[in-house]
Amino acid sequence: MKIKEVINILNAKVVSGHHQLENEVEFTFSSDLMSDVLTVERDNILLLTGLANLQTIRTAEMSEISNIIFVRKKKVTTEMIQLAEENEMILIECDYSMFKASGLLFNAGMKPVY
């Protein structure tokens, strides 16, 4: 699934990495716990999270995750955008809850990691 389709399904807004709308994502992992995110071994991952701070971006960097959606109206900071740009990530804000966003993507055919 292309990230632009994900954005459409979730009625979400891109806040950084506008040139990466064609990114392909095959799996989604939903978590606020960064140690859980660090266990994910697959490629082409989309991360859904309610944790909006610098460590979210750092964790994605270590996990080779380039696509992050912040749920529950969490706002991305300028420091986060700066670090995301250095690492070629697309950051997206979404008003839906983690449950709703996950459910919509699952219904649309997104695969779970575990």
Partner: protein
Amino acid sequence: MFMNFEFNVEGGNFTKAGTASSQVKKILKQLNVDSKVIKRVVVALYEAEVNIVAHAWSGKALINISTDRIDLKLTDEGPGIPDIELAMQQGYSTASSAVREMGFGAGMGLSNIKNNCDELEITSEVGIGTVVQMAIYLNTK
């Protein structure tokens, strides 16, 4: 090939947590190390770095890269770990709420480290600090 790097890790400063891991990742990429190995190294190092930021006052990370292995030694000045076996148990944590707000502190750090290392040794002295020594082999698939 034999290279040494040293990084300081500041206790309590979450804005800087992960900077050493980020540098090491860039170095390993430049050296064309296999991406799966890079991920194991940086996940283990990042968790160890977060541990110093979360629990200790100050620390440093020494990284040795040789032809067949990467050795990582993290030494901190901090409260130490009274019971290492207990600390290794998944789910056991003494992390503060500030650490939990950063997305860590669920008691998974040390087991994540263990899962990504080929060798791991932890020594600690209460009131003095902790030493975490890790090794990851380069020629494994």
